[in-house]
Symmetry: C2
Subunit: 320 residues, 2 copies
DNA sequence: TTGTATGCGTTATCAT
DNA sequence: ATGATAACGCATACAA
């Protein structure tokens, strides 16, 4: 494999001149530039990226930490990040964790190893304490509302989203509202739970612990929720569901079992993906793509503790 | 940032010994090993990945070329690749092309630059001729049935899939069958079209050019197909649709417009994603995750022109 | 405008 | 078992 030295030799110039030509620096006489370009062509020369990375101390690539890739949420956020990254000539490294803490830690390790220039944490498994040693001087963007921490963050206002949803359901005559979450832990879920409790308290409406359904990621999980719901003695008359996929599962299973929606059970969903439109699901639009775009913009920002908030918007349809 | 030389200094050994300890090579006396490890701890030393990459001539990462990330197809294939890659300590680079040829070419360029050790082309935009100069000695896996080419490939047997589907519809009493494709060009689509024509010819059934609907990626595209279908003078009584998402759009729009499924229009879908189950869509299971897994396995294989074929399986439901 | 020399941080070869 | 030294390939400060 030809290197810059051989090009210099063949072109009869120094390596620095070759480097200048390759990097389009000014102050190179046209004839030498041509000689270099010829030599490049002749030897089929191609720059070694790793040498550039080592020499420059950066790789122009950013790591994205996420648990899964086959979920619309993460597909959409990736799409947002990738679009923005492409604009700025950055590349994406994927760290798929499956919510495994050690895999997530490895991503931070890679950052320290300078394999990537920064990290976007779209969903976190480790405690902040565990990550702290990796954070100083590192360019990390969190996609959650980390309060008080001095770090970059962008997040959906899940608290307000749920509060709005609760209010909407209360004003539609419901007093017993349940909640379907991705997972119990994690800032985003906690924010939703906080909104859930705060609204119930504010309106002095009942709220039972087993009206909260966890581990709702996929369509199948929605089916499971219907079964769980049916077995409750005291059933909520409506559900706030944090994913259209899960809502779709609920609708499908409810139909099978003769549960009428919204008469027996109202569904207020989040995402507003095309499937919500297709199934006529009332859903809050969650700007996930935008979340991805903004996260990359934050990565580029010098300011090391900027933050961005995004809001949700209601699309009324037939399930409430 | 501390480097290996400073560790050597502090530990009172040579850099080679440090390197040996770091890489768990044998032949290092325990006391020196300890000295080194202490120094590592003391200086908070972390290896520079780019230096390793440069020195070793490889990066332990693989590039995945795909057009979009917010489509279930690509999410699933990524999931498959990522799972297998994780097992073998490989990392994923994403090259999102949006079907832009120059972006795709850039991925091949990066391979030559040794930024990645190999490439998985999950969907291709450039002609093979355009890619040929990049292929010699390069570890590239194509996810399509490239006939005759000496290269690694893994693909779904789309030809047989469509032929089976056609036979199924014919035997269900249909004689006029349409086809919804992602795109007109591309090996996978061409294979499906070939199956489409071959079956019609074999059964001597009619087949019109405008029974083929292109650019069907998302749910919205399914809606559009219904409109197009309605405006046809001579309408097919059934459609083979190469994505459950699109089928979902068709179902939704058909319902709105009072088109009965399968009475007025039968839908035979491909993917068998959960949404097919939820909407009771008859669908051929397409092992996309497996496709991703196999593509990575091929990448690892020495043999530079291995190939793998995967078949589709019918799940009968209510839309035919 | 161009060249020289050094740094980037590691691995690998070859002595000893 | 250990160390000196040469790759690996490029960028860049400094000199000219």
């Amino acid at each position: 494999m030809a290197n810059i030295r051989r090009i210099a030799e063949l072109a009869g110039v120094s390596v620095s001149t070759v480097s200048r030509v390759l990097n389009k620096h000014p102050y190179v006489k046209e004839d030498k530039r041509q000689k270099v370009l010829e030599a490049v062509k002749q030897l089929n020369y191609i720059k070694n990226a790793n040498a550039v990375h080592l020499s420059k101390g950066k790789t122009n690539s950013i790591g994205v930490v996420l648990p899964f890739m086959n979920l619309p949420y993460f597909g959409e956020i990736l799409q947002g990040i990738a679009g923005e990254a492409l604009k700025h000539d950055y590349h994406l490294h994927i760290f798929q964790t499956n919510y495994d803490k050690s895999v997530e830690l490895d991503a931070f390790h890679r950052l320290k190893m300078k394999e990537v220039d920064g990290l976007i944490i779209s969903s976190r498994s480790n405690s902040l304490d565990a990550l702290l040693p990796f954070l100083d001087g590192a360019n990390v963007v969190f996609c959650e509302n980390l309060s008080g921490e001095k770090c970059k963050k962008v997040f959906i206002n899940h608290y307000q989203g749920v509060r709005n949803g609760m209010e909407y359901l209360y004003s539609s005559g419901h007093t017993k509202i349940g909640l379907c979450l991705h997972r119990k832990f994690g800032t985003n879920s906690e924010e939703r739970i906080r909104g859930f409790y705060d609204s119930a308290k504010a309106e002095k409406h009942p709220l039972l612990e087993d009206w909260i359904f966890n581990d709702c990621y996929k369509l199948e999980d929605g089916r499971r929720v219907v079964h769980q719901w049916e077995e409750l003695e005291n059933k909520p008359t409506s559900l706030i569901v944090t994913s259209d996929q899960v809502s779709a599962g609920i609708l499908s299973e409810a139909k099978k079992r003769g549960i009428r929606i919204p008469e027996d059970l109202a569904i207020l969903s989040f995402d507003n993906h095309p499937i919500a439109d297709a199934l006529d699901i009332t859903s809050y639009d969650v700007p996930i793509r935008k979340l991805g775009e903004e996260s990359f913009k934050l990565f580029l920002q010098e300011d090391s503790f900027a933050s961005t908030v995004l809001e949700t918007i209601l699309y009324e349809r037939g399930t409430v």
